[in-house]
Amino acid sequence: MSHAHLGFGALAYDVAHLLDGAALILSFFLLYQTRILGVVNLYAIQAGVLAAAAFWQGWVQNDRDLYAAGLITLAAKAIAIPILLRRVIRKLEIHREIETTIGIFPSMILGLLLVVLAVLAVLPATTGALSLVREDMAMALSVVLLGLLTMITRRNALTQAVGFLSIENGLILAALGAVGMPMIVELSVAVLVLVAAIVFGLFVFRIRERFSSLDITALDRITGAHR
């Protein structure tokens, strides 16, 4: 462990590392949680962890842009989007359990394999960087892949939207790990996700109007792929 005698640098990396790890664990919880309000709450917590990571990096690197990124994350993703999603849930009256297509245990195993895949993909590609930075990148990629998996394993349009939003959390995590990422990148991603959340909100209402359910297998009938 070469970072052990870096003094403050070691602590800075350790805390950042721990926050990244927390985001990864929350992604797994997202995969495990089957209740729709629980899914939204977990997403809000993950965004909060992300904001904390941004503030921490801003403090360590003494970078005002990162504070701004943290504030945007906190305001938009930990507060505004969850409120929006909860309002949608209340309006549609869907507090009931959501079904996963392949079951929790297989999806957790798939998630585990995806994390291994992320580590195997990132670590050889980033030789030369600090070992902890590389692990952070691997974790960010894992969060992205786990978000994708959440989207794939769920049938409910709203949980798929949360899966999509958590993919974006992974992207921000990767941006935080890379020192000197320009602010404009983070801003554009943040705006993109806000727009996506609004589109998803409208989309969910439309599906509901047409099919009186959020189960997106109803959409198969349109494309002719009806089972």
Partner: protein, 318 residues
Amino acid sequence: MSTILSVMALLLHAVLLIALAPLATGVVRIVKARLLGRRGPALMQPWRDLPRLMRKQAVVAESASFVTTAAPFVILSATVAAGLLVPSFALHMAGAGAADLLVVVGLLGLARASLALAAMDAGTGFGGIGSSRDMTFAVFAEPAMLLVALTFALLAGTTNLDAIAAVLREGTLGLRVSIGLVLVAMVLIALAENGRMPVDNPSGHLELAMVHEAMELEFAGPHLAFLQLAASLRLLIWAGLFGTLFSPFLLARADAPMQWLPALLGWIARVVIICVALGALEVSIAKMRVFRVPEFIGAALLLGLLAAVYLFVSTGFA
């Protein structure tokens, strides 16, 4: 000198462990009662129950074999043995060489298997249901615990609790994401192993839902007292495991008696915090269906596996 001190530390540890175990159970009950708006039993109630039960006659079913009478002794002695190995306030106590994580898991497993056997012994329905459920949970919980041990073995190069704590105390490992994953996995396993709320309701007597209570139904008098003391001890053993593995900085060295008092207070504070947190958790969530429990402990298994695999893969390239 240091040998005498290490033996003294062990003796103090043993006395305190047995004296405080029922009190810890009492704290959890009080916290739960207060949060639910009741006054709850007195703190000393579990300690009053034990002598009361000891004075009674041990009623044994006619159809029961020697397993029923032997099991309480096996369970209590295995649990006490595990309790002597897990440090509470001091590292390097006498017998620290035997304090292997795998040995502790094995001893607790022995206690669990004995209870499952004894519960089936009398041939009543509830005992059988309880044992079958408990064994189903164990199928997931024990491999999960072994993966936790594997993760610590990869990190510290040993499965000896004392040696792991010594390595973690140096702080050269830093905060690793695997330790975080293992912590979450261990919390889930601890809830399952202690028969706590999302898995089992320790104060519930609903026939369809009980697990641990169902296994204790056929025991009376001293036998029941032994089982209750063992269950209380197990809670404290798990508190000790968390303290040793995740906050080894707060433990004293057995050969430095000046450090004992603050470490003792720290240990008691830790146990109280864990008990209060447990009580608060138990009143705020509902018990899950028995069929969902394997998923719950399976998540712990996968988190343990993830911690080990992550460590394995990432150190492979470092």
